[in-house]
């Protein structure tokens, strides 16, 4: 199962772009390395504000964001992005593991919720789901 998903990601993500937002440098560095193993383009930002500035000038297939951040937090960023592009595929990677956050995320139309610390299998599974959604949406547009 895992191997199939990895293969799928290897096959389809080479042309996809990711906007990754995380305020912790060490984690950001490590996670960026991980994402680059699949995605052709990975742009890493360290706060919501910076991320939105980047997002205004570029389009991304996937936005992956932390929730607790200085200046502009995760939900703030999500709201701005959704306002600009309601179809944007977004996933959250947060240490807030309460149900209340997942419910809030659903209300914001967030597509995936990945808990911290991140389990490798869950990461691959979530990325697989996101990628599938991206491809499905791309096919619908065509």
């Amino acid at each position: 199962m895992n191997k199939i998903q990895i293969a799928f990601l290897q096959e389809h993500c080479k042309d996809l772009s990711v906007l990754y937002v995380e305020d912790d440098m060490a984690l950001a560095h490590s996670t960026t390395l991980y994402l680059k193993k699949f995605f052709g383009t990975v742009v890493t930002c360290f706060d919501g504000h910076e991320a939105f500035e980047v997002y205004k000038n570029m389009s991304f297939d996937l936005v992956m964001t932390d929730l607790a951040m200085p200046k502009l937090d995760g939900f703030g960023l999500i709201a701005l992005i959704k306002e600009r592009n309601p179809d944007q595929i977004i996933m959250i990677n947060s240490a807030f593991n309460d149900n209340s956050y997942q419910i809030k995320a659903d209300k914001f139309g967030v597509d995936g919720y990945l808990n911290k610390p991140t389990n490798n299998d869950h990461f691959i599974e979530t990325l697989y789901k996101m990628t599938k959604k991206i491809i499905e949406r791309g096919m619908m547009k065509q």
């Binding site: 895992n2 191997k3 990895i6 290897q10 912790d24 060490a26 984690l27 490590s30 996670t31 390395l33 991980y34 193993k37 607790a68 951040m69 200085p70 200046k71 937090d73 240490a95 911290k116 610390p117 991140t118 389990n119 490798n120 990461f123 691959i124």
Partner: protein
């Protein structure tokens, strides 16, 4: 029970007072009234009798004065009659006298300077002194010898009255025949004496005495050496020729001795004053009173050449006298028969009578003090009796009052002893709340009081004991609830700790997890690179160190803290920051010290940290619901008067005013869901006040809440309460 500054009185005092009021006071009042009556009546009787005495004396004195005046008048009259007789005899003598051959000279001597005198041959011999003024007259000796036949008359005149000192005849040619005999006539008389120049001669001449009757001289100094005297003189005419003047002398000494010595039972003074106010004679005793020295004696250092009158001092009408004398002079002028004169020292009754013969006044002065001396002595005696009665009465009262005091004490005792027992019992009750037993007093009312009190006391005692049990139960319950509270707060602290650890661990755990995922993915992808793996493993190692550090931080924080330690405030702040910093995302804890950042404090450091963390945690929580964009918590430390002042101010908008006064109450919380035990600040306050001996306050400032903690810089071990 005790009352301070009380105007109330002790019962024993009241009883004693009442005793006095009912027994002693009336007696004292009656007795003192009697005493007053006694003294008053004494005084009254004395005054009345004195007044009567004075009045009586006045009457009798008037009579006495009148009588004395008449005696003196008689005396003068008698002398005047004698003088008249003498005058008649002399006129007869001169009628018979014929100038003829001189008789045998015998005892008569003619001195070298022409004075004729005689020697004393018989006991009733009279002196003859013939001035040498007419020494050429051949009939002198004859006249001198012839006049000897007049001697028996002089002698008989001398015998008529003891007041008469001299009887004599002076001729116009200065022959003097005088009885009794003067031994040293040659020395006494000036040899050229001109007798008509003397007052006792010229006052009788035609010019001064046209009626040719007997006249009286003023007081003058006797040339014959008998001192101050007055004379009744009468002219002797022969065919209208003034042959000479006869005279009878009365010396003042004699008048004073014989006439003025009025014998009365009280001190009386007398004086004779002539028409012009000259004092002719007065008692010796009167001199110092009037301030005038009487001239009774005269020091004959030389012969008296002329009339020597009394000095002007002796005139009452002169104005240089004492006030008493002035008053007498007024009396003299007014001719008032009786008056009282008082000059402040002497108090006299004064009478005044005229001696008809001479027109002189007899003035008698009676000393009222001596008059009243008897009645005064009587008054003193009765007063003395009064004082003795007073003393005896005082003694009696002292005995009586001491008896009353004893009695009143006994009486008070019968009431007071049971009351005192009651008081002691009430004190015992108020001290111990033990059941009480008081003996019966024997007084119905007090017994009722005692019974009621004993009932009440016993009920109170029972109530007290039951209350005590309840209070003990209450205290036990309270202690238990306190323990529960402390336990809860500890649980809450642990819960928060777990939360914080969870929060702080999540990030490094995420990193570790991500590293591992990277390695796993590399293996799965077959893109396995040794360098990359080493890098990841190192990173993982570092992250685990961090995890361990976090655990250490928290474990330090929750270690029991029972020694007072000296620690830099900076260190405490570092610890607070390291514990709190990571959980305070998107915000900043700033520690600053305006003057000295190396302040050291002796305290329980972890307890202080617990409080600071609690406050910082509250601020961090407050930021979650606040709208403020700048999230800072600023802690400032400064030293002030031996105390450390820590201010912890946030910018989270402050505490709502309706709850700011309740935030230190237990179980008070505004946070409904998580972390809201409502114990944090209550426990913080307890730690600051009970354990760290400081104080904590909160106010809202412009940007947010501001907590101020004040702590002693040197906390000593003993000050701390035993740990819970």
């Amino acid at each position: 029970m005790r009352w301070k500054n009380d105007k109330r009185e002790k019962l024993s005092r009241i009883l004693r007072k009442e005793y006095f009021k009912s027994i002693a006071y009336p007696l004292i009042i009656i007795e003192s009234t009697l005493l007053v009556a006694y003294f008053w009546s004494n005084n009254f009787v004395n005054n009345v009798s004195q007044k009567a005495l004075i009045d009586e004396t006045k009457v009798s004195l008037a009579t006495i004065s009148q009588h004395t005046a008449s005696i003196i008048n008689k005396e003068f009259e008698k002398t005047a009659v004698s003088a008249a007789l003498l005058k008649a005899r002399h006129e007869e003598f001169f009628k018979d006298f014929r100038q003829s051959e001189p008789l045998s000279k015998g005892k008569y001597i003619l001195t070298a300077d022409g004075v004729i005198t005689n020697r004393k041959t018989t006991s009733d011999e009279c002196t003859l002194f013939y001035s040498n003024l007419f020494k050429d007259d051949p009939y002198r000796m004859q006249k001198a010898i012839a006049s000897e036949e007049l001697d028996p008359f002089y002698n008989s005149v001398l015998k008529t009255s003891k007041n008469v000192v001299q009887a004599y005849f002076n001729s116009y040619d200065s022959m003097n025949r005088l009885c009794p005999f003067i031994d040293d006539a040659l020395v006494q008389y000036p040899h050229d004496i001109k007798i008509p120049t003397y007052n006792f001669y010229y006052l009788a001449d035609l010019k001064h005495n046209p009626d040719k009757k007997v006249v009286w001289t003023d007081a003058y100094l006797d040339p014959a050496g008998k001192g101050w005297m007055i004379s009744a003189i009468a002219p002797v005419y022969h065919n209208r020729f003034l042959e000479g003047v006869v005279g009878i002398d009365i010396t003042l000494e004699k008048i004073i001795d014989n006439i003025l010595s009025v014998k009365l039972p009280y001190l009386t003074y007398a004086m004779i004053v002539d028409k012009e106010g000259n004092i002719i004679a007065m008692n010796y005793g009167l001199e110092p009173i009037l301030g005038i020295k009487e001239l009774t004696g005269y020091n004959y250092t030389k012969p008296v050449n002329e009339t020597v009158a009394k000095p002007e001092d002796f005139n009452l009408l002169r104005d240089n006298h004492s006030s008493l004398t002035k008053k007498i002079s007024v009396l003299f002028r007014n001719k008032s028969p009786l008056e009282e004169i008082d000059d402040g020292v002497h108090n006299f009754i004064v009478t005044q009578n005229t001696i008809e013969q001479t027109g002189w006044r007899l003035i008698l002065l009676v000393d009222q003090n001596s008059l009243l001396s008897n009645t005064n002595a009587l008054k003193e005696k009765t007063d003395k009796v009064g004082y003795i009665i007073l003393t005896l009465m005082a003694l009696f009262y002292i005995l009586f009052i001491s008896l009353i005091i004893r009695k009143s004490r006994q009486f008070a005792g019968t009431i007071l002893v049971p009351i005192r027992n009651l008081i002691n019992a009430t004190e015992a009750l108020s001290n111990n709340l033990e059941k009480i037993k008081i003996e019966s007093s024997g007084i119905i009312e007090i017994d009722i009081l005692i019974d009621n009190f004993m009932k009440m006391g016993n009920e109170l005692s029972e109530l007290y004991h039951s209350m005590q049990n309840r209070i003990e139960e209450g205290i036990a319950q309270y202690t238990e609830s306190q323990n529960i509270l402390v336990h809860q707060s500890r649980l809450a602290a642990m819960g928060e700790m777990i939360n914080m650890i969870a929060h702080q661990w999540r990030q490094p755990l995420s990193v570790i997890s991500m590293m591992t995922s990277n390695i796993l993915l590399d293996i799965q992808l077959g893109t396995f690179k040794e360098e990359e793996i080493l890098e990841n493993l190192n990173e993982i190692m570092q992250q685990t160190q961090e995890l361990s550090q976090t655990i250490d931080d928290f474990r330090n924080f929750f270690k029991p803290d029972d020694i007072v330690t000296k620690i830099a405030v900076k260190m405490i702040m570092e610890n607070v920051k390291s514990v709190m910093g990571k959980s305070f995302e998107r915000g900043e804890v700033i520690f600053e010290c305006p003057s000295d950042c190396d302040i050291e404090i002796k305290t329980y450091p972890r307890k202080l940290m617990q409080v600071l963390i609690n406050i910082v945690k509250n601020a961090v929580d407050a930021f979650e619901i606040s709208e403020s964009q700048i999230k800072t918590i600023r802690i400032t430390a400064k030293e002030q008067e031996g105390r450390l002042i820590l201010e912890c101010c946030d910018s989270a908008g402050g505490i709502p005013t309706e709850v700011i006064n309740r935030i230190f109450e237990p179980y008070f919380s505004t946070k409904n869901e998580k972390n809201g035990t409502g114990l944090g600040l209550y426990i913080s306050k307890m730690i600051i006040e009970k354990h760290l001996k400081g104080s904590i306050h909160v106010v809202n400032q412009e940007k947010g809440a501001c907590f101020t903690i004040e702590l002693p810089l040197n906390l000593s071990m003993e000050q701390e309460l035993p740990n819970e």
